[in-house]
């Protein structure tokens, strides 16, 4: 049902991180459970340092509001400005145009704390 690109890494809390572009967003599994996204409200600014697991904002859908967590430790270097006017990008293209933050990893994290696509798929199945 949901698909999880192989080039991405995934957190237990359903964020994805792309080690190539340093971008993060939320997975199609999370999008499926949230429903139509109406607002992405970030609580961090460019230049802020975050630890993996820190809350970086809230995503609000017609059904609910959920926290967004940093999948990795690092510095916030950019956020997706398009989401302010078009939060639906998160629904329409969660892995591309619907990216949320760009985080430059501090390198202190071991990427192995994140799931690969196969393990993440199992994790989702266990939560379904």
């Amino acid at each position: 049902m949901s698909e999880y690109p192989n080039n991405l890494r995934y957190s237990r809390t359903h964020e994805w991180f792309d080690p190539e572009t340093n971008r993060m967003g939320i997975s199609s599994f999370a999008v499926g459970h949230l429903g139509d996204v109406v607002e992405v409200d970030l609580s961090v600014d460019e230049g802020d340092m975050v630890d993996a697991g820190d809350e970086v904002g809230t995503i609000e859908s017609v059904k609910t509001a959920s926290p967004i967590y940093a999948p990795i430790s690092g510095k916030i270097v950019a956020f997706n400005e398009d989401l302010a006017d078009a939060p639906e990008l998160v629904n329409d293209a969660p892995y591309t145009d619907g990216w949320i933050l760009e985080i430059e990893p501090t390198g202190s994290d071991d990427m192995s704390d994140l799931f690969d696509a196969t393990l993440y798929s199992d994790h989702c199945a266990s939560e379904e």
């Binding site: 459970h33 139509d36 109406v38 607002e39 609000e60 017609v62 059904k63 609910t64 639906e88």
Partner: protein, 495 residues
Amino acid sequence: MSTQIHTGLLHREPPIFELSSPGRTGHALPPSEPLDDEGLPAAFLRQGAPLLPELSEVEVVRHFVRLSQWNHCIETGMYPLGSCTMKYNPKINDAMSALAGFTATHPLQEDEHLQGSLELMFQLEGLLCRVSGFHSVTLQPSAGANGEFTGLALIKKAIDVRGEGARRRKVLIPDTAHGTNPASVVLNGFEPVSIVTGPEGVLLPEAVRPHLDDELAAIMVTNPNTLGIFESHLKEIAELVHGAGGYVYMDGANFNAIMGKVRPADLGVDTMHFNLHKTFSTPHGGGGPGAGPVGCTAELAPYLPVPRVLRTNEGSYRLITELPNTIGRVHPYFGNFAILVRAFTYMLENGGAGLSRVTEMAVLNANYVRALLKDTLAVSVDVDTLHEVVFTDRDLKKETHVTTMDVAKRLLDFGFHPPTVYFPLIVPGAFMVEPTETESRVELENFVETVKAIVEEARTDPEKVTSAPHRTGVGRLDETTAARKRILRWTPAKP
């Protein structure tokens, strides 16, 4: 101009601004005096008339009466909105609160002029102490969230008095909690820590044990919880928390499920708020006013808000504000007084045995609905519940793609207010039914048969369900666009 399309007596009604005609009015006002605007900066002076609709009296009355006829209320039909306790509010409550002795007083009058009102407050505090087992009660908080704030402020004060305020800042909150709980925690300078509910839908001592240290301020537990399940380990958990130097706050939003059966103080609860507007039947659901009295132990009582009502040795009543350790006021004057009169009336009308019976009927009704519906809709946790029951669309959605929201909308076509949907958050597609003790067996069966018919329709004619409602004044709204492209203010159409 007429944009009105009437279907029989169901009136289509545009925004009141679109009914406006220039110069029309409901009053004959004298010509206005020239404005004395001396001292007002020019930037703040209005340049033109405000954009207010101009209508006659009858047009205004019809507009709002028509809109009210689109509404559904407990006096129209069953309103099984889980967690909200939409029980019928007996009319005698209103009659008593309208007595001139109550309505013709002012809170700044001298105590001797307010003896009847003060006596009612004193007695209501006493009744609430009796049903809860607490030492003292304040009637001041104006609703549940205000009560939560107050109860946690008592705990905060007690911790500060002990000199541990800087260190004890953690408040444990189970994942089934009401959303207001963490907010009340933060407002008091504490930090919420979420703990996980066990597989049977109740909180287990094991979830609490890792947090028993000298940073623990309190645990905040709703009992029964939002799954409608009694927290059967609460007494043991309270002992653990007390052993670590913390306090126990109970969210009493669901007190209507245990009233007359369990006294929170006997479970080790230190402080709790009541929702008078839920448990003790005063009108709510339109944003208030409510009342959220807070009960507490003898240890916390010195910190209660002022004014407190005291009974003198001569048998008269007076208000005391000079209490050295009080947290101060949490609401102007004495709270929402007319609501207190209604709740007091309800308690006296029922009596002790009657209140216990109310609880029994509320629990029986919820379990009757669960028993009749559990083969139609999956239950979240298959255990006995108290006053409410949470179903899930898990199986229905897999089989038919019809969701909780669709079933809820379709219920409107059959004259039922929908249950609470998508709450509690830990249940996917939650469909939360709280029938209350008010509904008859016949009405409960009507509701159950309607839900069954809708679920069957989801299999045979899903389009009918997913496009519902069909028989209401307004059809299904595009909630997504409404939330994404918000129009917060009416503006005139461009000519």
